[in-house]
C-alpha cells in the first residue's frame, strides 16, 4: 500500500452518512482522550466533522488502499500498519477497541454504518477504467491544448462524416470490460491494408462509434465474419456497386442489449442497431484503411454504409430464426453478414392468401438489380409481421415459402437475353432456350422483422454472389 497511515486511531467518515454525523461527539472525545490520538479522513467533505481537522480523502486514495466498504470505519494503526478495524457504531465494540471508557454515553448503543464512496459502482468503474487504461497498447495521440476534441477526430480522418466519441484510454478500457477476450488477441486481418486487428483496436473503434461495452462481443463477431474470404469485405469495399456490410443479429444477445427488431427496425433511433453497424464500418475505415474515393470506389453508395444493422423479430415469428436456418442452435447468438444494398419496399395490402402474396413477392424480387439479370446477385427478403401472418395461417414454413418463391422465379431465357423486351441489357444469347433461376441456391434469405402494423415487406439486394463476390456469413457471438 502506497498510502502512509498515521499511528493511533484512524476514522474514515463522510458527511453524507447519518451514522457518521451521529458519532461526531465520539470522535471529538477520542481526539481529546485517545492515546495516541485520532486522525479523521473525510471521503466527501474535508470540513466535516467541523473542528477535527479532517484530512481530505475525496479522491478516495486512502479509502481504496484500506478497501473500506462502510463508513464510519475505525482503524487501529501501529508502525504504519493496520492492526484491527471496526465499522458502524457500537458502544460495546468501540469502548474496548479504543480503550476509552464512557464513550458516546448519550448515543444509542448501536447504529449500522453507511456504504463507503468506494462502493459507488460509477466510481469503481471509473477507477477500473483508469487502471485498465494503463495496459492498453494502441498508440497514444495527444491533442493540442487549443484543439476541439470532436474536430480533432475529423482532422485526423477517423470519422465516417459524423462526429465520433473521442477514444480516451479510460473509455476504451471500459469498452473492453464488455468482453472476456484478451485485449491483445487478433480478431481478424482487416482489408484493404491487411492489418492484424486486435480486440483492443476493435474496442477503440467501438468507442468512436458510440457503442456500449455490452455491444462489443457483437462487433467482434461482425468484424470476424466480415474479414473471412467468403464474405470478402475487400471486394465489397472496392466495388463500384452500392453495397456495404449489413449485420443481422439473432439470439438472446440481441434482446439482452436492447436491439430493435420491431417498429422501424431498419431505421434510426436504436443505439445498439446504430452503433454496431457503424463500429464495423469504422474498423474497415480506420484499421483496414478502406476509405471512400480511395479503395472504396462506389459509384453512388447508399446510406446504409454509415451503419446497417438490425435484429430479427424472433419472439412472435412463425419461423425459425435466421441463425437456426443457417445451422446454429436456437440458444446461441449470432451475426449474419450480408453484402447489402439499401432496402426497397414491397406493398401488398390485398393478398390474403399465401399463394397471392408469394407471387407478389416474387414479382418484386425479380427486379433486384435488373429484371433481366439472373443468378448473379443474392437478396434478403424481410417479411413484416402482418405479411408473415398470412403465411403462418396457411401453414407455410420458411422452407415452403422459399421453395414457392424459387418456383416463381424460374425465368425463361427468351425474356433475359440481350435485346429482349427492347432492352440491350441482359444475358448472352446462349441462354435463350434455358430456364434460369433468379437466385442461386442459398442466395435468397428470409428474415422476420418490423412493426406490427403495415402490409409492407422489404427486399435487400446483394452484390456479386458466392465465390465471384460475397456469400453471407453467419458467426456465433462469443462472450
Amino acid at each position: 500500500m502506497s498510502v502512509a497511515l498515521p499511528d493511533g486511531l484512524v476514522a474514515i467518515v463522510k458527511r453524507d452518512c447519518p451514522t457518521c454525523q451521529l458519532v461526531v461527539p465520539v470522535l471529538e472525545e477520542l481526539r481529546a482522550r485517545a492515546e495516541p490520538t485520532l486522525t479523521v479522513y473525510s471521503q466527501d467533505d474535508p470540513t466535516f466533522p467541523p473542528g477535527l481537522g479532517a484530512r481530505d480523502d475525496t479522491d478516495l486514495e486512502l479509502s481504496f488502499a484500506l478497501d473500506v466498504d462502510t463508513v464510519p470505519t475505525l482503524v487501529r494503526v501501529e508502525g504504519g500498519r493496520e492492526q484491527d478495524r471496526l465499522v458502524g457504531w457500537s458502544r460495546d465494540a468501540w469502548v474496548p477497541f479504543t480503550g476509552v471508557t464512557d464513550l458516546g454515553a448519550d448515543l444509542p448503543p448501536y447504529r449500522p454504518g453507511c456504504g463507503s464512496r468506494t462502493r459507488d459502482p460509477d466510481l469503481v468503474a471509473a477507477r477500473d477504467a483508469a487502471a485498465g487504461a494503463t495496459r492498453l497498447t494502441s498508440r497514444r495521440v495527444e491533442l493540442g491544448p487549443s484543439e476541439d476534441e470532436i474536430e480533432a477526430m475529423f482532422d485526423r480522418g477517423w470519422t465516417d462524416g459524423l462526429p465520433v466519441v473521442p477514444p480516451t484510454p479510460e473509455r476504451v478500457a471500459r469498452m473492453l470490460t464488455g468482453t472476456t477476450r484478451d485485449a491483445g488477441a487478433v480478431v481478424a486481418v482487416v482489408p484493404p491494408d491487411l492489418v492484424p486487428c486486435t480486440v483492443e483496436k476493435v474496442a477503440v473503434n467501438a468507442v468512436l462509434a458510440g457503442a456500449r461495452p455490452d455491444y462489443l462481443p457483437v462487433v467482434l463477431a461482425a468484424v470476424e465474419a466480415a474479414c473471412t474470404d467468403e464474405f470478402n469485405i475487400h471486394g465489397l469495399l472496392a466495388t463500384t456497386w452500392f453495397s456495404g456490410p449489413l449485420v443481422i443479429v439473432n439470439g438472446p444477445r440481441a434482446r439482452a442489449i436492447g436491439m430493435n427488431a420491431g417498429i422501424n427496425a431498419l431505421g434510426q433511433g436504436n443505439r445498439a442497431n446504430a452503433t454496431i453497424g457503424r463500429a464495423l464500418q469504422l474498423v474497415i475505415r480506420n484499421v483496414g484503411g478502406g476509405r471512400p474515393g480511395e479503395v472504396d470506389r462506389a459509384t453512388l453508395g447508399q446510406p446504409g454504409k454509415y451503419t446497417f444493422c438490425f435484429a430479427e423479430r424472433e419472439e412472435d415469428s412463425p419461423w425459425e430464426p435466421l441463425h437456426v436456418t443457417r445451422g446454429l442452435p436456437a440458444s446461441s447468438s449470432a451475426v449474419t453478414l450480408f453484402a447489402a444494398e439499401g432496402p426497397r419496399g414491397i406493398i401488398d395490402q390485398l393478398s390474403r392468401d399465401a399463394d397471392s402474396l408469394a407471387t407478389s413477392f416474387a414479382a418484386c424480387l425479380r427486379a433486384t438489380t435488373h429484371p433481366k439479370l439472373a443468378l448473379a446477385f443474392d437478396a434478403i427478403l424481410v417479411v413484416s409481421p402482418e405479411h408473415a401472418r398470412v403465411f403462418h395461417e396457411a401453414g407455410w414454413t420458411k422452407a415452403r415459402l422459399l421453395e414457392e418463391l424459387m418456383a416463381r422465379l424460374q425465368l425463361p431465357g427468351a425474356e433475359l437475353v440481350r435485346g429482349a423486351g427492347g432492352i440491350a441489357e441482359g444475358l448472352p444469347a446462349g441462354v435463350r432456350d434455358l430456364t434460369l433461376p433468379k437466385f442461386r441456391d442459398g442466395g435468397l434469405l428470409i428474415v422476420h422483422a418490423g412493426g406490427g402494423a403495415g402490409l409492407f415487406s422489404a427486399i435487400i439486394g446483394g452484390w456479386a454472389s458466392g465465390a465471384t463476390g460475397s456469400a453471407p456469413v453467419t458467426k456465433e457471438i462469443d462472450p
Binding site: L136, S138, R139, R140, V141, E142, L143, P145, E149, A152, M153, W158, P166, P167, T168, P169, V172, V190, D193, V195, C197, K201, V204, N205, L208, L282, N286, V287, G288, G289
Partner: protein, 94 residues
Amino acid sequence: MSQPRVVLDPTGERTAALRERSARPASLSDRSVGLLDISKARGDVFLDRLEEHLSRRGARVLRFAKPTFTKVAPIDLRREIAEQCDVVIEALAD
C-alpha cells in the same frame, strides 16, 4: 495546467503520428523560395527585408499571401506554393 488530453489511435498505425521534416537544403542559391504573408499587419515589412537578403544570395523569391490570417491557407494556394517552391518561409507578425 490541466492534464493533456490523450486518445488512442484507432488506425492500423501504419503512418507516423509525426511526419519527418524535409531535409534542410545546403544552400538557397538558385532555389525557389516562397514567402507567405499571412496577412497580418506589417508582415510585409519583414518579408520585404527577407526578399532583399535572399535575392542577394541568389534565391528566386516568389511572394504569396493568405486571404486572412484567421484561417488556414486555401487548398489552391497550398498547392500553388508546393508546385512552385523548394522552400517556403511563413511570416508571422504583430
